[in-house]
């Protein structure tokens, strides 16, 4: 193990290097570019034994990666925002073909107006593609999740692609120490890729051919089952990674001071890290507050989240995107998860941080105060609160 000072972008490049990725195809988009620039450097300097294809679009990037992966080769790409939207069709093709590609997506706002800053609308709009979605909240996690992503996705019980969602600039361009596994350590954790199926002239068959209602339904159910399996084995894989790396792993969610908390704040990505500070502040003021960092968004950790929130008196969900006309995606999931519970706490949804608006621990402390006030006053809040509006 060695420690390097890396941005999260470079951390995932190292993740691909550690994972012995054999094929990369990518198309540049801010703030993803430095991921593939570094891989290009690794490959041209022979640090990495792989091929790099400089395609003419994201649609082709994911198509080419799909092609290589279909021959049984561990493959990688990365994108962001408009790039994800441009490759959207292929995003579904990959999952439905059960190809365990790992793809970091740097979360960036969508136009118009143009914005390069953090926002979760891009990956949220790809929630139902069949990709496993993991929101990382620091650079080390970004690296760890590439290795764990391949391990998880390639597991025969899963065979699903993995999207690593990481906040623009706050992670992508911010330096922090990252522990990198040695090749031996990696190999003891991540075995060579053994595909579920592969193109091979010695064993010819067609993939993705036209299918009637007689079989399509079953294919979709199998994808759902694969997600359920992924949910079941992810924590185990994380624990194994912890043993190999010596790095503490939390699994699907991370709970911070939740045990005795009366209210709990939930968030994805970097906002969750910021909330940790807010929780300490609120605790210092005598508020019994905890944090649930939701790392795995698909499959959704229903059981873990339900257990963490049941019987609490207040739940605050922060979302960095909104399903227009309804509420934030994390809030929607949290409410649906809590529905079977006997004791459902009130859930208040704050829409924050859109298009890169800063969300500091002080802001989070104030969101909590607003939420608590409303609940104490007996107000039933059913709509999301755009708490950071300036006008």
């Amino acid at each position: 193990m060695e420690t390097l000072i890396l941005t999260a972008n470079h951390a995932v490049s190292y993740g691909a290097w550690s994972s012995r990725v054999k094929f990369v195809a990518a198309y540049p988009i801010t703030p993803q570019t430095t991921i593939v620039e570094m891989l290009s450097e690794f490959i041209s300097s022979k640090k990495m034994d792989a091929e790099f294809m400089t395609v003419e679009s994201e649609h082709s990037a994911l198509a080419a990666v799909t092609g290589a992966e279909s021959t049984g080769v561990r493959s990688f790409t990365a994108t962001s925002s408009h790039g994800l939207l441009y490759m959207s069709e292929m995003v579904h093709w990959v999952a439905r073909a059960r190809l365990p590609i790992v793809m970091p997506v740097v979360n960036r706002a969508l136009a118009p107006p143009w914005s390069i800053w953090v926002d979760h609308t891009d990956t949220m709009s790809h929630r139902d593609t069949g990709w496993i979605q993991i929101y990382v909240s620091n650079n080390q996690e970004a690296y760890d999740m590439v290795l764990q992503g391949y391990r998880l996705g390639e597991d025969r019980k899963v065979s699903m692609p993995v999207m690593i969602c990481m906040d623009a600039f706050l992670l992508s361009h911010t330096f922090a120490p990252v522990k990198i596994l040695t090749p031996e350590e990696t190999d003891s954790f991540l075995p060579p890729y053994k595909p579920l199926w592969k193109l091979d002239p010695e064993n010819p068959f067609s993939v993705g051919g036209i299918t009637t209602a007689e079989h399509y339904y079953e294919f979709s159910e199998m994808m759902d089952q694969a997600h359920r399996n992924a949910g079941e084995i992810f924590d185990e894989i994380s624990r194994e990674y912890e043993k190999v790396s010596g790095l503490l792993q939390t699994g699907k969610i991370e709970k911070y001071r939740v045990e005795d908390a009366e209210s709990v704040i939930l968030a994805l990505g970097t906002m969750a890290e910021e909330t940790r500070v807010a929780v300490d502040r609120l605790r210092a003021e005598g508020e019994k507050v905890g944090l649930v960092k939701v790392k795995m968004f698909r499959p959704f950790p229903n059981k873990e989240i339900r257990e963490a929130l049941e019987n609490k008196s207040l739940v605050v969900v922060m979302d960095r995107s909104v399903s227009y006309g309804h509420e934030g995606p994390l809030s929607i999931e949290v409410k649906s998860t809590l529905y079977p519970s006997e004791n459902r706490p009130p859930v208040l949804n704050f829409i924050v941080g859109l298009g890169g608006r800063d969300v500091t621990f002080k802001d989070i402390v104030s969101f909590h105060k607003i939420a608590k006030k409303k609940v104490t006053e007996g107000k039933k809040v059913t709509e999301p609160i755009f708490v950071q509006l300036k006008v």
Binding site: K22, F23, A25, A50, E51, M53, T54, V55, E56, S57, H59, S60, A61, A63, A64, V65, T66, G67, A68, E69, S70, T71, G72, V73, S75, E89, M90, W93, L199, D200, P201, N203, P204, F205, S206, V207, G208, G209, I210, T211, T212, H215
Partner: protein, 306 residues
């Protein structure tokens, strides 16, 4: 496979099996059948949305006896590039071919194709050009010729078709050729060459389609021949920077044969009913063909063997 020089040499091994669902008289099925005979067992095919994605058979059956990866409409060339790269990094030398329709090539797939050719990907790209979106029920494409009826050009197309061959030459493809299965030995000669070469190889196949072109299925071969004999389809190849006419088109170019009047090609096809109604329109059509020939004679001059 030893060189096929006459019909008698064609390998008996089939890779497009009986039971595929192409219409009677489908020239695309012929092209697929023969190209797979040429490429043989050590081949992988990728197919974007088009008639071939349907006629290959319904899951769990397939009529194609080599690995076949179906893919998104716009992505054939990129998918083929990735498949080839995947094999390459494993040290496997497999013929990788994309087989796409004109819609998936001239229109929605041209970006991926242009990129793959510019990068000189080591792939063969076969476009079966039936000159419309047939799979979705005969809509116009960038390859639909002037005057042709489709469901979205009910009075006949008012624009000329794109010239993909010319685009591919300009794009830097290492090997570009036009074929039609009506001239099967020309087809074999070009694909055998394509198979042996490396780099980006694009073959444009005129692919008569009975339901789309509105003719009796028995005329497929005849129509392909007439297309060439009238000069509506020109057989040529572009190899290492040298352009050459081939087959009957070569005879036309060298003045050894005369182009038949285009009317004989048009009148067999219901899709040209608007054109053959009027003498002027037929004349205009003839002019378009002559113009195109002038252009190709110039191309041949520019890229002649030095």
């Amino acid at each position: 496979m030893s060189k096929v020089k006459s019909i008698k040499d064609i390998p008996l091994q089939e890779y497009l099996m009986p039971g595929h669902a192409a219409c009677a008289g489908c020239a695309m099925a012929l092209a697929v059948r023969h190209v797979l005979k040429i490429l043989g067992r050590n081949t992988t095919v990728t197919v974007p949305a088009c008639c071939l994605s349907v006629i290959q058979g319904i899951f769990p059956k397939t009529a194609v006896d080599v690995p076949l990866k179906n893919t998104a409409f716009a992505s054939a060339a990129a998918m083929a590039s990735g498949i080839k790269a995947g094999y390459r990094v494993q040290g496997k030398n497999v013929n990788v071919i994309a087989i796409a329709g004109d819609g998936g090539t001239y229109d929605i797939g041209i970006q991926a194709l242009s990129g793959a050719v510019e990068r000189n990907e080591d792939i063969i790209y076969l476009v079966y050009d039936n000159q419309a979106y047939m799979n979705t029920g005969i809509q116009r494409s960038g390859a639909t010729p002037y005057g042709a009826w489709t469901t979205t050009t009910p009075k006949g197309k008012t624009e000329k078709r794109k010239d993909l061959g010319f685009i591919m030459i300009a794009n830097g493809a290492r090997y570009v050729a036009t074929v039609t299965p009506s001239y099967l030995m020309d087809f074999y000669s070009k694909f055998q060459k394509a198979k042996e070469r490396k780099g980006s190889r694009v073959v444009i196949d005129l692919s008569p389609c009975p339901p789309g072109w509105r003719y009796d299925p028995g005329f497929t071969i005849e129509i392909g021949k007439l297309a060439v004999q009238t000069g509506a389809w020109i057989l040529w190849e572009f190899e290492d920077g040298v352009f050459q006419f081939t087959g009957f088109s070569k005879m036309i170019a060298e003045g050894k044969a005369k182009k038949k009047p285009v009317e004989s090609y048009l009148k067999l096809q219901g899709r040209f009913k608007e054109i053959i109604k009027s003498k002027e329109k037929i004349e205009y059509y003839q002019e378009l063909i002559n113009e195109n020939w002038e252009k190709y004679l110039k191309i041949a001059e520019i890229y002649k063997k030095k």
